[in-house]
Symmetry: C2
Subunit: 377 residues, 2 copies
Amino acid sequence: MKIKYDLIKKEKNTNARCGIIHTNYGSYETPMFMPVGTQATVKTLSKEELKDLNSAIILSNTYHLWLRPGVDVINKCGGLHSFMNFDGPILTDSGGFQVFSLAKNKKKDITEEGVHFKSHIDGTPLFLTPELSIEIQNKLDSDIAMSFDECIPYPADYEYAKNSTLRTLRWAKRGKDVFNNERQSLFGIVQGGEYEDLRRLSAIETVKMDFDGYAIGGTSVGEDKTTMYKMIDYVMPHLPENKPRYLMGVGDPIDIIEGVIRGIDMFDCVLPTRIARHGNAFTNKGKINIKNAKYKYDFTPILDNCDCYTCKNYTKAYIRHLIVANEALGQRLLSIHNVRFLIRLTEDLRECIKNNTLLEYKENFIKNYRGENESSN
Amino acid sequence: MKIKYDLIKKEKNTNARCGIIHTNYGSYETPMFMPVGTQATVKTLSKEELKDLNSAIILSNTYHLWLRPGVDVINKCGGLHSFMNFDGPILTDSGGFQVFSLAKNKKKDITEEGVHFKSHIDGTPLFLTPELSIEIQNKLDSDIAMSFDECIPYPADYEYAKNSTLRTLRWAKRGKDVFNNERQSLFGIVQGGEYEDLRRLSAIETVKMDFDGYAIGGTSVGEDKTTMYKMIDYVMPHLPENKPRYLMGVGDPIDIIEGVIRGIDMFDCVLPTRIARHGNAFTNKGKINIKNAKYKYDFTPILDNCDCYTCKNYTKAYIRHLIVANEALGQRLLSIHNVRFLIRLTEDLRECIKNNTLLEYKENFIKNYRGENESSN
């Protein structure tokens, strides 16, 4: 079935809202954070661990799966759920973002027809079109497919942004026209760069095509926070209330809070698993780097009162040892903690929406979170 | 408490025996396979996964822990169990084997006092003695400590082997004299290289010192199978029946069977987790390499009727994809399967001992196992 979105509660003091997304694999509350399983696996985690984290929808990447193991393998296996043996909802992105960020030597040739580029694995010339992206996603049989778009770089001049935004709209139409999977939903993606009129135009025209949900793309690509929040502000008034709204690629805790305040329902980001691989962990005071010498004898958990498996079982000293010794369990324990941190954040935000206390929560969170930030990845 | 060994049943047609080892953390049947957690973690696996595999004692490495995180860290944390949050029995080896196999540039200087060598991590000059090895192990507070020995290379001439064997006996005495941990047991290690008289001498003299158990060291160091089995044969008649017998570093399935037939109770090896990292999996027909193209569309488990988590949940095609894409979950799934394969092998062997069908089992196993061997690591 197509996903359905039920709006449950609007917060009084902001544009934030609670809702429920009904999927082929159960119903889940929003706002939600979606862990990223780039290559048909959320890095280092099992499906049982994801369930323990109270994870709902997970992401996977059309571009990566197209290259490895190949769509044919997954299709012959009966789709991505069967291939991964995962009985929760899966969203696949269109491959557009990876084409722009990963393509070998960043060389690509964007034409009206599609994008010529080279495989980041072996340099093989590839050509991805809106139709092919949708065809692949139809075959992957994810629960939510995404339109093929161009992620506009930041900064980009107005002419570039305008041409790209208009082309992404044409691509969205082409993709929608060939879309052919009754149990799969299709989301449109709003682009427009940093330009208010382009963001508005993109939102209005995308919504006219009547997708099952709407994403905001092209944020978190190097712009400052103020610009990012403006990009969201330009778009939100034009998105319909009865469809989910998804801010792509955003996983910074404060950005999630700011997004929720503006009415975003869904977030995804590789951040929690990526920083885990560098030894970083989220805490209420900011990110800490577990490799720091001061944790060598620290026999307390990463975060007091954290309900994750890692914090209930292991100390900073042990995790530090595992990360320093390059042991896989260390990355796994930090991934568990970091993903749970963001999912619990969205759980907290849902409570705040229900209680109309979101702005107070934000103020407190930011006061603590900014207090200490040991490292970036 | 010291470990205790109860002999339960001898097999009629071989020297094999079933027993129970009582430890500070429960009682476990022998023969057993002990997974290796070199750096205070069995690579890629959690303690819950180890429990699911029906794992009993695990190994950890004195040399590695001495270097990282440092004995002081583990001691201040209350010992290795507390540091790892592991409530099963742990055996620590003495560091002798690692000194000989890992020391930087393989340069070491063996004196009567101990071994001078360089850290494999950063080249720092180190000096390990029998007393220091025992002192470290006492502080790690493992359940079973091992005597500090020299692992004689293969081949080694008679004079070298004799001098080394005699020195290892003196080291064993020195270590035992300083041993000071009431809840920890201490095993002696029989060396002697390939020489019957030296093996016999080493066994007799080691047993005279009255250890809590006896290990056979210096096998699996490059010698052929016939030589390895002879090394065991030379030693076994001289080991007391009321103490456990441990064949160090052996994890090849057929070697385990041959060891059990000769009366061995305990085995350990990095093999199942190491070959997992190279994409290899044990099957009844031999090792397979999951990266092989023929598994690309193979939607069956690694091993039919295998009771491990991996085989109950995932296909060769999915695991192949994970390994090819270098995803940590792939190594974890293969590690689970491979460790379980060896543990289940020992479970089968215990059944055979109880039923006096060990030789029949061996014949069948070898006939199948030799049938196919796709790859080594």
